[in-house]
Symmetry: C2
């Protein structure tokens, strides 16, 4: 079965704009992280917990993508973050032009960390570079342990895998070793963090990883 | 934000082929059901449980869509069903041409029920008519109760909503009333069935619904 061709114009324009976004982020020393996942993996909850732990340390902006509703940005504003909602009204991924348009409404140098919560979709967003510094794929234990090999592109293009909802493991037929073997098969050296937004497990490690990304962007040493 | 335009040629060709599929299914008195959901909602497990209950009553064919791997078709063959795997290698939805191509390899009149397991994606598959008799959106309790209003197209175009993994409700912050209110907001008259493939809850009602679909296609009265 042939891969659905993306028009050269669409992809070319996206990649040019992504390169421009990346240049602007670097100039502003803004660390941009693109979060990909299935619907309902817990990205917004993860960012709420991240806000609690990091909002006094770094100046954080969220760009939140959804097909419909402003719910996620509202939740993140309630958590104390500055948040912009993009509603795509049917479109299945964020693209670099959408990000450029929103970044133009703020001063990028006024922030240290840009968290981009992509549309809940494990297929299409992986094909679109947004100009991010790093990409995170968020899996949840409830999705089953075979997702890395069934949706390899999202895993292959990510720099970090977060396995969320580990508090539910006792109630699920989820094989952590099989999941991690699948991740390694798609991307041999990808780190996997285990988190639960309910119990707080793994959130320190997640925030330490983010902290390292921000410091690297700013040219600072790894530890405060 | 503008809706991503689908080329008129792509959609036109899909809709023509879907109409042709629908004509062939009607001629063969084959009931075709298209199942849509997020990755990991439990569609394959639901079909495994369906096989146990219905494979001696009706002749069932499964067409299984995945980005990569043949795992799901293998699971369904092990459950005693005839199953064809389509691997899209990156494409985010099944289209009517893919279905036509596979249906041409079998005798449609040799089956009573065609179950099409779409790619795990709550956005793109909702835009593609496959020629199905009815469409089912499978939600899982672990995705959160706000998905109907965040991904309205999948819910709006469905004839039935199955809320799966209800056995996990005690461990989740999932509000069933809010979920069902969201479903009604998107499609006022859509029935919602609650199922668990772990405990078996709701599977009789699901199979009764499927049974009604098959009988309606065959022009038989509702109950055996």
């Amino acid at each position: 079965m042939a891969k659905l061709p993306l028009g050269r114009n669409v992809r070319g324009r996206n990649d040019e704009t992504a390169a421009e976004n990346r240049r602007r982020f670097a100039e502003a020393r803004l660390c941009a992280v693109n979060l990909l996942s299935s619907p309902g993996s817990g990205k917004t909850s993860l960012l709420e917990r991240t806000a609690e732990r990091m909002k006094d340390r770094w100046r954080i902006l969220v760009i939140d993508g959804d097909v419909e509703t402003e719910r996620d940005a509202q939740r993140l504003r309630a958590a104390g973050l500055e948040a912009i909602q993009i509603q795509t009204h049917g479109a299945c991924h964020l693209n670099a032009m959408m990000i450029a348009e929103q970044v133009a409404t703020v001063d990028p140098a006024a922030f240290d960390l840009l968290l981009i919560e992509n549309i809940g979709n494990l297929v299409c967003p992986s094909n679109y570079d947004l100009g991010e510094s790093s990409r995170v794929v968020v899996a949840s234990t409830t999705e089953g342990d075979d997702k890395p090999i069934k949706y390899p592109e999202a895993y292959h293009t990510a720099d970090l895998c977060v396995l969320n909802k580990v508090d539910l493991l006792p109630y699920l037929p989820f094989d952590v070793a099989a999941f991690e073997a699948g991740v390694r098969r798609v991307k041999a050296d990808m780190p996997v963090l285990h988190t639960s937004c309910t119990t707080g497990a793994g959130l320190e490690a997640w925030c330490a990883w983010l902290d390292g990304q921000v410091r690297a962007t700013r040219g600072e040493p790894g530890k405060s």
